[in-house]
């Protein structure tokens, strides 16, 4: 048993006056993957957003190495790589520009040298100079995934990462995720499909619809 890095205790969230979940607790250690499953509207996205401090939880704590993450929110955000339902890409910028701009926004100025390997991982090299506006749905999703790799963050928060990906891209994602976990990273992914990684844990969110 690995010692947990991330510890979530008794988390509760409301959206629009309705309680989405409560008394949610789990812990995650190095190299561990947590798959969030549950019906549409069961609160997977809400949980991810709460972990990223984008949604204010009603109750509960989120601890990293034993310290509440809200004590140092900026340091916490620096440890996250985020992929939401929306890709968060600027349609007018090219793929490469989008990736580099996102990295610089995270405060990491030297991303150029790492860019190539992130592009290669998702077979984006030939699209690097294309404006995102002209990409297909799956090509956009792959760009957003490349951004996640590029961030080199210990904790990945992914909302339906397999959406719109073709089979080779899904395989590429699995490889990237396995590498991340093997190097001691953590990942939490909401999904309706099978992530297809052995050894991952699963958290089923309850209250349906």
């Amino acid at each position: 048993m690995v010692t947990p890095l991330l510890e979530v205790a008794d988390l509760a969230c409301r959206r629009g006056g309705r309680r989405v979940f409560e008394r949610l607790s789990f812990a995650l250690g190095r190299g561990e993957l947590l798959a969030l499953v549950g019906r549409n509207g069961s609160g997977k996205t809400t949980l991810l957003r709460a972990l990223a401090l984008l949604v204010h939880p009603e109750a509960g704590t989120i601890g990293w190495q034993g310290v509440d993450v809200r004590a140092e929110p900026d340091a916490w955000r620096g440890r996250l790589a985020w992929l939401g339902h929306l890709e968060g890409l600027k349609a007018d910028l090219t793929v490469a520009e989008n990736l580099l701009a996102a990295e610089r926004l995270r405060g990491a100025p030297q991303a150029e040298d790492r860019l190539d390997s992130a592009l290669v991982a998702f077979d984006l090299s030939s699209l690097a100079a294309r404006a995102v506006r002209t990409l297909s749905a799956g090509q956009r999703r792959r760009t957003a995934l490349a951004r996640v790799i590029l961030a080199q963050a210990p904790l990945w928060l992914l909302d339906e990462p397999l959406n719109a990906l073709d089979a080779p891209a899904q395989a590429a994602f699995r490889r990237a995720l396995a590498t991340h976990l093997a190097s001691g990273g953590l990942a939490i992914a909401a999904t309706h499909a099978d992530l297809g990684l052995a050894g991952g844990r699963t958290l089923e969110l309850g209250i349906p619809t």
Binding site: D92, S126, A131, R133, T134
Partner: protein, 239 residues
């Protein structure tokens, strides 16, 4: 528009322009030399306006060419939308900045002339204002043309705009005339003035012809560049 039908194919256009451009350049250069001599040296200074009258030899042709240029854009826009002529789009892209350039020259020379004549660089005269609005229409066309990642889209959007613009141009001109006459009796020297003396008329007409040739030459050359550029952009990426 018969010429355009003939030239609708960029390759055929290319052959045509390669034949025409060299002789056209030489002709333009020669005519310009003669024109400058006529305008700057041979024609007499005006008894009222002195040597500043020579501005007219650039000013007036620019005004006419700018107006004709917008008409050309409209014709090109129509043939793009109706017949989907690929060359029409490229030529419109090439012609718009040239037309806008002549329009700017007219405005600049006019206001430089206005300073000695009226004591102000700019007055809100009807003709000045409608020329300014024409310049804005040109700017809108150019800006719209370049606002798209896919050049074909920019071409079609600009074509729709220029067709609406050309319907509006007479309405704008008419309303601006009306606007000025209502508000302001002629307090500054009206443009035009007394009928023009032949010693000025000849060089003026000569310069009109010369600058018109220059306009055509520039449009042809820029169309060539646009064809090259479009070919480069459309080249299938290898791998």
């Amino acid at each position: 528009m018969a010429d355009l039908h003939f030239l609708a194919n960029p390759a055929r256009y290319r052959r045509f322009s390669q034949r025409v451009v060299p002789s056209l350049s030489i002709a333009t250069a020669l005519m310009l030399a003669v024109g400058l001599y006529l305008a700057l040296i041979q024609s007499p200074p005006d008894y009222q306006q002195g040597d500043t009258v020579r501005i007219m030899f650039v000013h007036v042709p620019s005004a006419w060419i700018a107006m004709a240029g917008y008409g050309l854009l409209a014709a090109l826009g129509a043939s793009l939308l109706v017949w989907r002529h690929p060359l029409a789009a490229l030529m419109a892209r090439a012609a718009a900045p040239v037309g806008a350039g002549f329009c700017a020259v007219c405005l600049l020379t006019g206001s430089l002339w206005g300073r000695p004549m009226w004591g102000a660089y700019w007055v809100w005269d009807a003709r000045l204002t409608s020329m300014l609005l024409l310049f804005f229409l040109y700017l809108g066309h150019i800006a719209l043309n370049r606002a798209y990642d896919e050049p074909e889209r920019g071409d079609r959007a600009a074509a729709i705009l220029v067709l609406i613009g050309v319907i509006n141009l007479p309405i704008i001109k008419f309303s601006v005339d009306w606007w000025n006459t209502l508000h302001q009796p002629a307090s500054v020297a009206r443009l035009g003035g007394p009928s023009i003396h032949p010693s000025i008329l000849l060089p003026l007409l000569w310069m009109v012809a010369t600058l018109f040739l220059l306009f055509v030459l520039l449009v042809l050359l820029r169309t060539d560049t646009e064809i090259d550029r479009r070919r480069l952009e459309n080249a299938e990426p290898q791998a």
